[in-house]
């Protein structure tokens, strides 16, 4: 299973990139599983997550081809 991952704002700076592709060798994985693949640190309390551009949480079950975004709290425009 492959997912596309995107980072925004300060998290993009911290990850050193704006996006990446992540492959799982199993067919099911949660957002929490994905985070532990992309970072060695625990997922910060404040980080928000969206799957396919809808807000969700770290228990969300991912599907092949999903776009997962991690970002800090929004500040508005």
């Amino acid at each position: 299973m492959d997912v596309k991952v995107r980072y925004f704002a300060s998290l993009r700076d911290r990850m050193g990139k704006g996006d990446e592709s992540v492959s799982f060798d199993k067919d099911t994985a949660t957002v929490a599983d994905l985070w532990s693949k992309v970072s060695s640190e625990p997922m910060p309390e404040s980080i928000l997550v969206a799957v396919n551009m809808e807000y969700t949480d770290s228990s969300h079950e991912l599907k092949n081809g999903d776009e997962v975004a991690f970002f800090p709290p929004v500040t508005g425009g």
Partner: protein, 158 residues
């Protein structure tokens, strides 16, 4: 309804007129309420000389469109236009335009206020400020209303 996000300089009133001339039937709307937000040269008491606004292409537009739809369900809205600038900008630059056309004033005001409140408090934008001392920092919360995102029920990951 139109939502447009751009890195280019924003000419808000030209956007209103262009949209009015192309998308709206003539002679039917009673009036238009607009809000034009301009970059200030201070924030939280600190001088700011530039801002770099980040957004999530696709998601930001989708969520703004949804909020316009919410406003249209709640009030009698004939049409609405949102244009938002992103990327690098300096004080006095227009940042955002919200325009709402309606047959009734009250509805235009209420809907316009609802949409701009969403944009300013909860829309997927992230501000990076550059102070006059050259310091660059991501704004941690919206200084106008830090609790707004929480109140809107945005879920935090556990």
């Amino acid at each position: 309804m139109k939502v447009f996000i751009t890195k280019d300089a924003l000419d808000p009133y030209k956007e209103i007129l262009d949209y009015e001339n192309t998308a709206l039937p003539a002679g039917k709307h009673g009036g238009v309420v607009s809000f034009v937000g301009t970059m200030r040269d201070f924030n939280d008491g600190q001088d700011v000389n530039a801002m770099d606004l980040d957004y999530y292409p696709g998601m930001t537009e989708r969520h703004i469109e949804r909020v316009i739809q919410e406003a249209s369900d709640e009030w009698d809205v004939m049409d609405a236009l949102v244009v938002h600038r992103v990327g690098k900008m300096v004080p006095t630059d227009p940042i955002v335009l919200v325009a709402v056309w309606s047959a009734h004033r009250k509805d235009s005001f209420d809907a316009c206020r609802y949409i701009i409140n969403y944009l300013k408090e909860s829309a997927p934008f992230w501000k990076c400020e550059v102070t006059t001392s050259g310091e660059k920092h991501w704004v941690e919360h919206n200084s106008e209303d830090p609790g707004a995102a929480a109140r809107k029920g945005l879920k935090k990951s556990a």
